[in-house]
Point group: C2
Chain length 356, copies 2
């Protein structure tokens, strides 16, 4: 089993990665079991697929464990759902010793983390990510959140889990497109922090059917944990994780979060950010081309007909842009992200021509 | 100006105490003003009394400052109000740089702190307590919370303010009974941690009309900050702050939080806890008598007719008691609190005879 520490002083924890891990989880969690109540938070599909089995194996190993289901999709992160689950926990007699297990993708992890952060001023929780995106990104680093009608992730906190348990075998139950999409975020780690890894990824992508997911997850988690350890609350360095996300988020928002997977949106965003990096003299054309070639090896779905102005609208209406604080993540050489607040809307608009 | 540090590593801050402080607050806060949005959260009566003036003086000093009113009374701490204020902040364009000022008593401080803890994963806030209870207790230590219909303070977090600003002159605007009640919590600090302070308090209480509130607040804040610094998240030592609170809370709950001020309830609770301490051999009769005499110098309102079983019901229905984990704070000598989980319901019932 690969163990990657996230070094955050008293809030430190380990990321554990091993194919088949889910089956042996009760053994690994045993040292955390003091007879308290354990609650699995998960969405119906995941509960059917693996949640019920996990509960049974925990029960057999002497854990006092129940499941609280949360709705499918992003609406699980609503204020109403947050309140409902908190109330269900009170009714179930949960106290400060209760421990939560977030079994699912980013939505489940974000919601569970925020509940853990705020239930009776904080209880323990573990992340058990089931999607590639959650395994390499959202399950690590303690960003928790719920949505308001006015926008995503407006309410939340930084609250670290007590551990992250990753079973890459779970990926086989995902649709192929879902796995492909997640590779976009993995390319991001190479691009912002590790040029040799980016080169390795590029060769791996030549044979997509044998893509070594476990190795790629291990490497991505190592990079993410190092960045989080240096800047837990995203005061500066952690912002580089947003490479490809300015345009990526705008594409998703413009398509109302229905038309494009997050990883694919980030891939398109990275193409634009790479182009801007070249325009501003930070990346030479060879480097930019290498980034583009690597991303293009992913069989990402082509974009639907999109009005560039619609996408730009989402960027310019962002308060951060209005105040002139838009932090744009660029590459100053491959594997070396930098942050600029000098990127004009005109240049961003022009960069969209690369993808639209 | 008296400055008392709360030493919590990267979350350290200072408590500032000075009569008339409110008038010079803009000067003191100037170093924290980077042009961000400042929001005063306060209840209507306090806004009229001092909130509008504070806003005006901040505006004059170049702060971009507005007021968001919250309802009077405990219902300000409801889930609905929490959501409403968060939404109002989004609409007002608040971002991660926004700074909150909690101007009021414990309800305002608890709610504001929880909003600060969770708005966009955390913004800065300052406590400006206006009641004696808030000055010596709730404004210090970062306990934030809101209520559910099923119980008080079930949702919250530990989230420290960036500073506490105490103006004892504000106490003169409080009803006399409110000030008297708060002295109960001050006596508590002497009882649990500082026998000489308890003796001093006893002599001060012989001349209640000249009670030196500023000195008493300074001393109380020093004790509280020392305890919080040693046990931020109430894993052990911080529990001693609950001296007098087991029965105190039960009295308040039995009277549905309408019939008794919190400080008075704590005073009655301390009389019972002192009696139990003597019964269990932790306090000699002379010490117990001194504690009782000191508390009795407070002209606390007499209790209405109360059925002891109703009060006991509230203690025994507490989940902590059912699980056998009820941590009862007792005194092993004056100024030295200890925690026992060996106190039987029968002994607690008997102790009620001291006050009912």
């Amino acid at each position: 089993m690969k163990i990657i520490p996230v070094k955050l002083g008293p809030r430190s924890y380990d990321i554990h990665i091993e194919p088949g891990l889910l089956k042996t989880l009760p053994k690994h969690l045993a040292s955390f079991n003091k007879g308290q109540q354990w609650i699995i938070l998960s969405q119906p599909d995941i509960i059917q697929l693996i949640g019920n089995d996990l509960q049974n194996s925990l029960l057999k190993s002497g854990f006092y464990c129940s499941i609280i289901p949360i709705p499918n999709g992003e609406r699980a992160k609503s204020f109403d759902q947050y309140q409902k689950i908190i109330e269900a926990m009170v009714q179930a007699g949960c106290d400060r010793s209760t421990t939560l297990l977030a079994l699912g993708g980013g939505v489940t992890g974000d919601l569970t983390g925020f509940i853990a952060a705020t239930y009776m001023r904080g209880v323990d929780y573990f992340q058990i990510p089931t999607t590639l995106l959650a395994m390499v990104d959202s399950s690590i680093g303690g960003k928790t959140a719920i949505n308001l009608k006015m926008g995503k992730n407006l309410v939340g906190s930084f609250y670290q889990p007590k551990g992250v348990w990753i079973d890459p075998d779970l990926l086989t139950s995902l649709p192929r497109e879902e796995r492909i999409s997640g590779i976009g975020e993995i390319i991001k780690y190479g691009a912002i922090r590790d040029a040799p890894f980016l080169e390795t990824l590029s060769t791996w992508l030549d044979h997509l059917e044998t893509f070594p997911f476990t190795k790629a997850i291990e490497h991505s988690c190592t990079i993410k944990s190092e960045i989080v350890a240096k800047d837990e609350q995203e005061d500066h360095l952690r912002m580089i994780l947003n490479f490809g996300h300015t345009i990526g988020h705008a594409l998703e928002a413009h398509l109302q979060y229905g038309g494009l997977r997050h990883g694919d949106a980030v891939s398109y965003g990275m193409l634009c950010a790479g182009w801007i990096s070249e325009q501003t003299g930070l990346l030479n054309s060879e480097e930019r081309q290498f980034l583009e070639d690597t991303i293009s090896k992913l069989p990402s779905p082509s974009l639907p007909d999109i009005d560039p102005n619609g996408v730009l609208q989402h960027i310019s209406s962002d308060k951060k842009y209005r105040d002139g604080h838009l932090n744009y993540v660029l590459l100053s050489g491959l594997g070396n992200a930098v942050i600029s607040n000098q990127i004009s809307m005109a240049l961003i608009a022009e960069s969209l021509k690369v993808i639209l």
